[in-house]
Amino acid sequence: MHRLLPLLPAVPLLGAALLVAGGRRLPRPVAETFGCLVAAVTAALAGLLLLHSTPPQAAWVGGWFPKGGESVGIVLVGDGASLGMVTLVSLLTLAALAYSWHYFDEPPRGHTGSFPALLLLFQGGMCGFALAGDLFNAFVFFELMSVVAYALTGYRIDEAKAVQGALGFALVNSLGAYFMLMGIALLYARTGELGMAKIGQGLDAAAAGRGPDALTLAGFVLFLTGLLVKAAAVPFQFWLPDAHAVAPTPVCMLLSGVMVELGVYGVWRVYGLVFSGPGGIPAADATRALVTLGVLTAAVGAVMCWYQRHIKRLLAFSTIAHTGLFLVGVGVLKAQADEGTALYVLAHAGVKAALFACAGMLLDRYGSVDEFSLHGRARELRGVGIMFGVGALALAGLPPFGTGLGKAVSEEAVGGPLTALYIAASALTGAAVLRVAARVFLGLGPRPGEPRDEEREEDETSGSGEEPETRQRLDRIPATMRSVPAVLLVAALAVGAVPGFAHAVGERVDESGAWGVFSAVHWTAAGILLDLLSTALAVAVAGLAVARPRLLAAPGWALPLRRLQSGHVGDYVAWLLVGVALLGALALPGVLG
């Protein structure tokens, strides 16, 4: 079976090439059906391989099996974690293709197949990155998914904002990728190897009991910078809201649902395989670096999320908040936290993609994603409103959604004050989405008035007066568009509610990870209570905000934080440099000691 692993990225890439070759002659439905078919075949193949992933498998591409422990070839890792990510990527791509079915923007003249082809290339890049067991190969697929993501973000070229958002995204992420490549070069210079596991052994051998030195630290910091830019960790996060605000909705589903999480997955994979040995970065230092950045990310994301009125930006900031939580979960380096994070990522992908899908319907129906100007206008979209509300509660961690289970398991693993962070971040992001649901779909509370003077500057990001992504404004929402978020929410529910599923996920993740085995994942009374607490908090805060808007209006201290999100790429690059230095400083004690 392991021989089929390289097909997971290759099938969508071939599909994309064929779509481009034949795309100009094909009628649109045929091109879209073909795209869906390719994504579905990849998903099925990934699922099949996932069932056979115990014990974890490795595939040597081109049959370059190691001789005497040495190989010149590229190794792919086929364990539960990587195949799980590939399955998630493929299913979410299928959802995005189904969502854009027939209604999404007019294709460029003579290039009918280009949008599904780009989505397939995106899928191929993400699959390849998830499977990579070789540092350089990981970089190649990292770049592939980045390049496609830039193009997809700027897809709606008729709007200047789209091009600007894509440009900022491209600049910051490319810079991150260059740092990543420098890190690979340093590690290669030290060890003469490119396979992750072999580099890890090489670092251990070179350190020979003396522990890591400056070169190891630089390799760690530079490689992680690339991944953390992708994961939108503070202070690398600025590109994400700008890109999400302008990217087409099906693309947002993929960006927020799985691409950002792949950055966290990369950190987990690379730390476990390369840096967890005695010659790598000591656990205490890795934890300090990752948890500090994770806490900052969750806090900044949650606060910024609360103060948005542009619904897609709001959802983008909630993604940042949750990525912060994932980073904390990965950073504590415990099997139980890994399991919780895996479940959280799976369910979050479904919930967040569903919420973006609902926001996209608002955009296509009303030409606006502004919470204020849409006040009460979407009462007629009852089904969409229910899905949006359910998604908000799931985001806050309502049992038995998978988000709730993942959050509960993670909370138990991290313990202490970090539990409060999980509750606060999920409650605040859930509350922000609930507030939108109450105002837009129910018309509750007073209609928000004109902003005060100090808030004028955010008018540009209010989200009103946007172009719909369909050929014309939709009078009624088509069934394909409505069914996608429904299916995604049911899937997120299933992650937490289907008996045995969470246990199976946990087992696979433990097998793939480096921290041994945790007994079993299940709902506990404490976990359910904490989930209910965060959900209740979300409902209360949202209710208060809707009933008494003045009470929770942006205080003065939040304004500088919002001003940092300036849209100026130079600022973002400056923060990126600060982030590299910060990451280095956080991991430095292990090298000095």
Binding site: V20, V61, L194, L215, V578, V580
Partner: protein, 271 residues
Amino acid sequence: MSRRARLWLVLLGGSGLAALLVAACLRLPAFGGARHPYGDRAVAAALARRTANTIASVNFDQRAFDTMGEMSILFAAVLGCVVLLRQARDEHRDPPRPAEVAAPVRRYALSTLPVALVTGLYVIAHGQLSPGGGFQGGVVAATALHLMYLGADYAALERVRPVEAYEIADALSAAAYLVLGFAGVLAGTAFLANTLLPLGTFNTLSSGGTVPLLNAAIGMEVACAVVVLLARFLDQAVEIVEENVRENGKNGDNGTNGMDGKNGENGENGE
């Protein structure tokens, strides 16, 4: 953020990064050492597969999977450009006007064109034997075609370069690389395995098994990709015009001679 604040941030972060890099570079292995674990293995593996150019063996055999990713990056970048540089709603196309080219330039460009094209194809074809290969040769071949633009004008270039055909060829050659990969699986070995063809005689054109085929696919993909890429950018510069520019008068939309610096003059003459 003010300029000043940004500068301070860059100084702060940049000095941290610089300190990290300097400390790391001091720990790098000394220059000219004898220990090259990967290089030694790669050369041995290349010779075992009778591929004279070790780089080609690394690119198209040992790490052919990386090359598949790199090819896909180029393919995706071209597709992205085609999509992003499409004609926007407020733009229209103006046919390029014929241009006068100085006789020496014309003679030089048109006589160099076939030489450059053959050089490009040679570099592709001998990728498995000598330095070069599909990536480099493809770029040479693609740029050779553009001598037509220098020697004649944009309309002449468009005649030798039907973009749609190149777009299809780009996609088909990418597909060919992937299909060669799948063939390995179907033949029962591994994806992109170099076991389909006889290895041939060392240092001849047909040596190296599937290496020449993968190399040729890359050469074609790169050549077509560069042609399409340049075509999209040239289209933006020469043919595609924003509506409001056109209304202002017919100046400024004439970029046919953009390469030889006559653009400004033409703009004035247009009035």
